[in-house]
Symmetry: C2
Amino acid sequence: MAARAPHLSRRAAAKAARRRALIDATIRCIAAKGLGGTTLADVAKQAGLSQGIVNLHFRTKDNLLKETLEFLAAEYDERFMQTLADTPDDPLAKLEALMAMDLSPALCERRKLAVWFAFWGEVKFVPTYQKICAERDRKYDGIVHDLVQQVIDEGGYRDVDARAVSDSLTSMTDGFWLSCLVDPKRFDRDAAQRAVDRFLRATFPASH
Amino acid sequence: MAARAPHLSRRAAAKAARRRALIDATIRCIAAKGLGGTTLADVAKQAGLSQGIVNLHFRTKDNLLKETLEFLAAEYDERFMQTLADTPDDPLAKLEALMAMDLSPALCERRKLAVWFAFWGEVKFVPTYQKICAERDRKYDGIVHDLVQQVIDEGGYRDVDARAVSDSLTSMTDGFWLSCLVDPKRFDRDAAQRAVDRFLRATFPASH
DNA sequence: CAAAAATGAATGATTATTCATTCATTTTAT
DNA sequence: ATAAAATGAATGAATAATCATTCATTTTTG
């Protein structure tokens, strides 16, 4: 009886590892062939496993894709919260760090963006995707809005509208992601970063 | 010989009308079921025609989708150029009008955006989509950049970077489109418009 | 050894595409 | 002008390929 727990958890760990490997394979497949071009046979081959493996671990393809999106969202969330935690306790510094994170090569990179946009392309037709994405949106908009409000309060920017500024910031990164995806040759990370910096300086001139 | 032309053009006109009707049906299908959920049978039924009709008029599904994207791009282009032409000969007024157009209910509406994002979701995997979208991006970025440069020159804004401002503007609309798609309940058109207005006022304070 | 994990061949549903046929319209010939 | 011939648009049943899912069997693990 005492022995059962470690046995079960070993198996459970192996199972979790397999699921994780399959999700990784799914992300690679979507990055390479798109959502429409990704078959379960592709995913299995990418993971070096056999035909029926996805159905064994995820029951259905829809479920695999849902869990893949959840994984991506969790991954982003960890990065976001970590950036927030790692930055000095100054709201403007935190805003700058978050924007830089969104434009960093780790996130703002064509392969990764292709996966996000693949899911966004289906967002209106798959309620699960919609729910996950809308919650993300709300969470990060809320955090950014609060930071902006803090900068306003601390800097005494009476006539700056927090909502307008936070909306501008979050929409800018999404827009830069689209242009990185659509025209990577022309996309200029430094120029994008500069645009964000100038926006923040113009909005909060006394805080730099 | 003189008689042949009108006859041919009647047939040609009918053919063009059919193709157009099928493209309309395709857009409705994508708006309702997504790119992945749209079958040729759906399109034919939506158009009130029979099974083989798409292959007759467009040869392949890929080609139908390509021509559908081209149609959407042309439709947007007409609106864009018309807005440019209809606005008083002042670069800032033109910029404001273009931004307002992008956020207008006619364009910034979930059904339409779902179709655009469906194509963007495949942009990395279908070279044809990529080409069409990248060319659009370049064209409009160029026009917006030139307008911004004019405002800078006319207003003597020595320390404003035209590239940074135009990048900010175009990325903002794309970002607002994403949030309109992802979380339509929370999306606030007026707030978005206000954000853009404030950005322009902050950037060009002496020109309002 | 028993249970769980993994395999990969078989199944059945879906779907793009083809094609023989029908039908309406246009052209040609008398 | 009228009938015959030709065109090409439209149909919808048949085809062939793709793919998610199932399951009987084998392999691995505890």
